[in-house]
């Protein structure tokens, strides 16, 4: 199944396509996405990540079309 992932540039986004989709097996959890993105263990507690714009635990089971976003800054104004 496909989930949409907005990953910051320091993670491994090679498998994310141009529309932002990442293919994961059915029943995959947020932790599986972290593994694919190679999120360093040390960073996991401090990274701000949302699934469908809600706080989520790493064992959250993902559904087709879920949106996974990470907070990373841009400067604007």
């Amino acid at each position: 199944m496909k989930v949409k992932v907005y990953a910051p540039a320091f993670l491994n986004g090679d498998e994310i396509d141009e529309m932002g989709n990442l293919t994961v097996p059915a029943g995959a959890t947020l932790r599986d996405v972290y593994k694919k993105l190679q999120v360093p263990l040390l960073l996991r507690p401090v990274l701000i990540c949302r699934v469908n714009y809600e706080k989520s635990r790493l064992d959250r089971k993902l559904q087709e079309g879920d949106v996974i976003s990470f907070l990373f800054p841009i400067s604007g104004g």
Partner: protein, 662 residues
């Protein structure tokens, strides 16, 4: 029933004649409203060669096509005119409550020509439009004038007021138009045009309904968007002191990713634009020391003093524009600053904090709050004013200005007291302040002796506080937009978050890419800047907010709202063609008025000539000539001159649109 009112009001201030004009549906379908409607009227009304401060210039206030339809973050109004600062197309926009008020008075735009014999203001209420004497508020600052005019004209409903301060009255070319006690449509010198017409204010009290094609569908889209935004709150552990570290991290990665704009809302809700105060210094986005320095100069001991947390520490009330669900604004207590001269000020934006911070090597945040209020009341653009001070400081350092020229002021970097004094002199147009009050280009011409080397501008307008050596696309927009020097048109950062490629067939899609790619002039990069510029026209045609735009088309659904409001059933590609038409008409306005598009190229320093020796942008150069050429080519404009090609004008049907009203 298409979201727009179908009429404009035209006021001749010389004769006092006021007339309503019907605008054909076709104009809206080809140019939307807002800046597009403004371009249509001004292109046709202002004769070539008109003096921007003369009676033939036309000044317009327009609202957006989607304003008041039930869509969200579409409540911005625009000032349009021939700019006295650039000599070409001028526009500026502002939030607040004026945009719906224009429509509730029955119009999509209110336009003024001529010059009044004595100061006047336009009042529109249930008796219709009338010009009224403004002598009693002439000479007063914008905030005080607004309060007086509002009190005088409140019956049941509070009027919405747009007003100039003393800077506009004194025809400072960097004066803007003020609103809501501290908001300002600052750029392009619209306040100077208003002052030259002796038009102090417009005061609007309307109650006409704003009808659209399918209000239920508009509401449905709005509901989905609002639901997402309301969920966005930052955990308390994320402190402002972390932001500069995040900025630093950005520079070490050397890659760029298209991020989720919805997460941007999270930070905007907490801090507003000052969230960038330290972060943009460490990542290289903030120009330092008149664009000649870096974070090595304005180091932690400086930027930590203007941290976002210190800004919001003074915030006692949140503020949001009409129809906004983010609310990036705020009101701050400043009663302990400047011997209590002012009680409060609108939260200073990032632009103001950085132009009076890093650009001047100033770390005194209190002085920035104070200057913010001085400028808001005078109605002077903080971006241009800050650049004028930076220019003067560099001239002082290089010996082109002496203490005799400055009235004894020691214009050394970071001297906050001197900055405050110089701003007061600019507002009063006294001594050196009089020279600087018309922006750096004119000031450099008056000072001479090579001063133009330190006058940082594009086409006469000082640039926003976003470094083109950090984001070269920003430099392309600074140089190619018909209103040069504006940071709100486009940038790689904006493009990547807006995600146009999800809906527009020809907008290049973006995956994680090496930062170095941004520094190479390619057709692909040019298509991105073209797409960004076209979309920005749509946003300015509907009254949209830039911060909504950069949340992305997957969230803030401008195309879908447009179809629901108008019933046009157009595709995103068709809307982008409208954006291209709007931008091309603005460019044609400049051509008509004798502007050579090439002359809008950014100052060499802004393109890394000479390159910086330190900091995140060390050694970065921007091939600006090639980038401008490719941008023009993909717009269908002559790639060597920037003049729209005849076949493009024909393809966009601009020849018909302009001819039929001539």
């Amino acid at each position: 029933m298409k979201g727009y009112m179908g009429k404009i009001l035209f006021v001749n201030l010389t004769s006092g004649q006021i007339e309503e004009r019907i605008i054909p549906d076709r104009v809206y379908e080809m140019l939307l409203s807002g800046v597009g409607l403004g371009a249509y009227v001004l292109y046709n009304e202002i004769p070539a060669g008109t003096d921007p401060l003369g009676p033939e210039n036309v000044l317009g206030f327009t609202s957006g096509l989607l304003t008041g339809t039930g869509s969200l973050m579409t409540g911005r109004w625009m000032v349009v005119c021939k700019s006295p600062l650039t000599g070409g197309w001028g526009d500026a926009n502002c939030g607040g409550t004026l945009a719906p008020a224009i429509k509730q008075c029955g119009y999509d735009g209110i336009f003024f020509s001529g010059i009044a014999e004595k100061p006047v203001y336009l009042l529109i209420n249930n008796k219709g439009p009338q010009l009224k004497d403004a002598s009693h508020v002439w000479g007063k600052d914008a905030t005080e004038s607004e309060e007086i005019l509002r009190a005088e004209n409140t019956v049941k409903k509070k009027p919405a007021v747009a007003v100039i301060g003393t800077a506009g009255e004194k025809v400072s070319l960097i004066a803007g138009v003020c609103h809501d006690g501290g908001r300002i449509a600052a750029r392009s010198g619209g306040g100077a045009v208003m002052g030259s017409k002796r038009l102090k204010a417009i005061v609007l009290v309307g109650s006409k309904p704003i009808k659209c094609h399918d209000p239920q569908e508009v509401k449905k889209i709005s509901q989905a968007y609002a639901d997402k935004i309301r969920k966005q709150n930052l955990p308390g552990i994320v402190k402002g002191s972390l932001l500069p570290l995040m900025g630093k991290a950005m520079t070490s990665i050397k890659r760029v990713a298209p991020l989720d704009g919805m997460m941007f809302a999270l930070m905007m809700r907490k801090w507003g634009t000052p969230m960038s105060n330290g972060m943009a210094v460490t990542n290289g986005d903030t120009p330092i020391k008149n664009w000649a320095g870096s974070v090595k100069d304005y180091n932690r001991s400086y930027y930590s003093k203007i941290n976002a947390d210190y800004v919001i520490k003074r915030e006692y009330r949140k503020y949001h524009c009409y129809s906004c669900v983010v609310g990036c604004g705020g009101v701050c207590d400043i009663s302990d600053i400047g011997q209590g001269r002012f009680t409060h000020t609108h939260k200073p934006e990032y632009e103001t904090c950085s132009v009076f911070g890093g650009l001047l090597m100033n770390r005194d945040l209190d002085s920035i709050f104070y200057i913010n209020e001085l400028l808001n009341r005078a109605g002077m653009d903080s971006i241009s004013a800050g650049h004028a001070v930076a220019f003067a400081m560099e001239c002082y350092e290089k010996g082109l200005l002496t203490p005799e020229d400055t009235g004894g002021l020691k214009l050394t970097w970071g001297n906050a007291q001197a900055v405050v004094k110089l701003i007061e002199m600019m507002i009063a147009r006294e001594g050196l302040g009089d020279i600087l009050a018309d922006g750096v280009k004119i000031a450099a011409g008056k000072i001479g002796s090579g001063a133009e080397e330190y006058a940082i501008h594009a086409g006469g307008q000082e640039p926003g506080m976003h470094d083109s050596r950090f984001d070269p696309q920003m430099g392309v927009h600074y140089s190619t937009d018909p209103t040069p020097g504006r940071h709100t048109i486009g940038a790689a950062q904006y493009y990547n978050m807006t995600r146009l490629w999800e809906k527009v067939s020809w907008a290049p899609a973006v995956k994680i890419y090496p930062k170095d790619e941004e520094y190479i002039a390619t057709d692909r990069e040019a298509l991105k800047t073209v797409a960004g510029a076209c979309y920005k026209q749509i946003v300015d045609g509907i009254g949209g907010c830039l911060f909504a735009q950069i949340m992305g088309v997957q969230h803030w659904q401008a195309f879908e709202w447009l179809n629901a409001a108008t019933g046009w059933g157009k595709t995103p590609d068709e809307y982008m063609l409208i954006g291209k038409r709007m931008q091309t008409l603005r460019q044609l306005f400049n051509v008509k008025h004798g502007i050579e598009p090439k002359s809008f190229k950014i100052h060499p320093r802004m393109a890394g000539d000479p390159p910086l020796k330190e900091g995140p942008n060390k050694g970065r150069t921007v091939p600006i000539d090639d980038m401008m050429r490719l941008h023009w080519k993909h717009f269908g404009w002559d790639e060597n001159t920037g003049i729209p090609l005849p076949e493009t004008i024909q393809h966009l049907e601009l020849d018909q649109l302009v001819q039929e009203v001539r």
